[in-house]
Point group: C2
């Protein structure tokens, strides 16, 4: 009734195409073609392209949050090491996709937040959820005396997330993870440091 294999195929194909080409540049017919589903099915499961886009976002966000929890809330690993692993995973993904996709949520935030408030709100929520994961990890690091937070954990989490998203964007343009490496280097060298 709700969660069908066809529906899943549509969302997965959509996520892939939208990651590569963006939302506006991805036509419904293209999604249909790549997964061999007729149009009737599409409009059976989704009321509109926007509805579909929101489902793609939701699916991606849920999956991504799972890996985020696995990485950032791994209590067997020191908090700063968890962050290092998160960045390393991001870099690896960037290599895997040939510097082509980057972060779906960041991409869509850029493309759609000026176009539709519905999308903006949905994407914003995803980001806020992610930010909370970072806040928790930073608080852990602080509690263990690994870092001194001179503003607030929230401000620092915002700094890290926005900086990382910016680095991803630049990496996509440059077709090189260099900006991501620079970001990590300076972050760990000068920002995530214990009190002097």
């Amino acid at each position: 009734m709700k969660n069908n294999a066809t529906r899943d195929k549509l969302i997965d194909s959509g996520a892939q195409l939208i990651s590569q080409q963006g939302y506006n540049a991805t036509g419904i017919n293209a999604v249909l073609k790549t997964c061999g589903v007729p149009k009737g099915s599409f409009y059976h499961y989704f009321s509109s392209k926007e509805d579909f886009g929101l489902a793609v976002i939701e699916r991606f966000a849920t999956r991504y949050d799972e890996t985020l929890v696995a990485l950032l809330e791994d209590n067997d690993t020191p908090p700063l090491e968890r962050l290092r692993r998160y960045f390393a995973a991001g870099r690896e993904h960037m290599h895997e996709c040939n510097h082509a996709t980057g972060c779906l949520i960041g991409n869509l935030g850029q493309e759609l937040s000026g176009q539709s408030d519905t999308f903006r709100d949905a994407l914003n929520l995803v980001f806020q959820r992610w930010e909370q994961r970072f806040v928790q990890c930073l608080k852990d690091a602080q509690a263990q005396g690994d870092i001194a937070i001179r503003t607030t954990p929230e401000a620092l989490a915002s700094f890290i997330l926005t900086g990382w998203e910016g680095a991803i964007l630049r990496a996509k343009m440059l077709k090189s993870v260099e900006p991501m490496v620079h970001f990590e280097t300076i972050l760990f060298q000068q920002v995530l440091v214990p009190s002097p």
Copy 2:
């Protein structure tokens, strides 16, 4: 023959619309309508939409570089203060446009670098030019003993530019300059500091 008032009108209207809606979401007819120019003129001055898009980028980049030079190479002002002013100007612009446009080059880099190598290369060049302006300003700051650069000026410039772009993107989604403020705060508090 080349630089005509009609051509300028087209580029200006195009820049405005593309800033607000993105490249793909901006139709040629929409540009034509907002500036009252017939289609015949458009294809007289530009060979295609891509050609037009590149002209918009070039125009924007040139203008932006002028203000960048004015701000970052103002030798009457200490280097770090120049940077502060640059960020303040960016925040002001974000307010002026109601958190709607952000940075045209960043937007297009996001939207088009996966779609067209021509665009990617053009946008990349613009970013590299900007980065050089920051490198120079950071070297000035280093020479005056205002900051200690623990990596290279190039890496630090990359860090600043990507972080700032990320903050702008987030500000657009959040409809608030808060992420930009966080970025500035932590940057000046922990990264752009003299040697201990």
